[in-house]
């Protein structure tokens, strides 16, 4: 009895450490510094992102890679992380290990991401940009119209209009997006 209690406590401690460690590691892979530890990310998309408002702006509120590309809710996050194992596979293959290869794949990769965002009703955009908190009167004329009338009339989601705000757009993306229904 005494021994099995000790074993129980041991199991408990291992359980706590496992779960804490698992989530800690998960968060470690959920940082910008982890993302740009691959030169594929650092030399292409990260460079482009640095010229955008999500990197540098008036109030200094920055969105980093995982803010847009990894869901915040645990289940969606795990799902995305498991899908990302495919990225490890292509990292080993070297599928996009030169800027030229990356450029050739850019449209395909962008379409994947747009598809993911649209199907989730731009969930990751909305983690930060909440419609309820948005003061249209502080926006420009075009944004007021787009947000208050156009978007509601046509049931659009953020990514429908806001493509290419953080990274360069692929050549001929407009037709490709239309064909894919994005």
């Amino acid at each position: 009895m005494k021994t099995s209690f000790k074993v129980l406590v041991l199991g408990f401690i291992i359980g706590v450490m496992f779960w804490g460690g698992f989530n800690w590691t998960l968060e470690l892979t959920n940082t910008e510094s982890f993302c740009i530890s691959c030169h594929e990310m650092k030399e292409n998309v990260y460079m482009e992102y640095q010229n955008t408002i999500h990197y540098n702006n008036r109030s200094g509120v920055r969105a980093t890679c995982p803010d847009c590309h990894v869901p915040k809710e645990w289940l969606y996050k795990i799902k995305r992380k498991i899908q990302a194992s495919n990225e490890l596979y292509h990292k080993v293959l070297g599928t996009i290990d030169t800027p030229e290869k990356f450029e050739a794949k850019r449209l395909e990769l962008a379409l994947h991401e747009w598809q993911r965002m649209k199907s989730a009703d731009s969930r990751e955009c909305r983690n930060c940009h909440d419609e309820e908190s948005m003061d249209y009167t502080k926006q420009g004329r075009r944004a007021i119209y787009a947000h208050s009338e156009e978007a509601k009339k046509t049931d659009k989601t953020c990514i429908d209009c806001h493509k290419g705000i953080a990274h360069s757009l692929p050549a001929n993306w407009e037709q490709a997006a239309k064909d894919a229904g994005l």
Partner: protein, 147 residues
Amino acid sequence: MKKRFVPLSFLMLLLATTLTLYAEELQSLRGNTPLSEESMPAENKPWAKDSEPIARNYVQQPPLIPHLVEGYVVNIKFNKCMSCHSWTNYQQNRATKISQTHFKDRDGNDLATVSPRRYFCTQCHVPQVNAEALIENTFKPVEAVSQ
């Protein structure tokens, strides 16, 4: 030789005076601060916010851009302006459509797409800042363009 020297020196004096006056009026961005000192930075002029279209002042004036264009990319792969101002998109975005004149090459031949010499929009169309004119002028628009 001496005869010529007088008017030449006079001309040089005149030139020097003019240059000095000119230098005082027209300043570089660092103002009058000597090179050995650090100048105050020039005042920051924010871009004007979105407004209604700005009236033209003369025939053939490229319309001014009445909205922010920061981060709008125009490169070999993509022209951000065209995502609203192209003939395909202008109606949905309630934008001014690109002029038919932009589909002609320099020899007057009609093209199917925007002529390369018209592709870089901000070469002619420019956004505005809320700044005073550097030099006052009394130019009045012709009647034909001032509604």
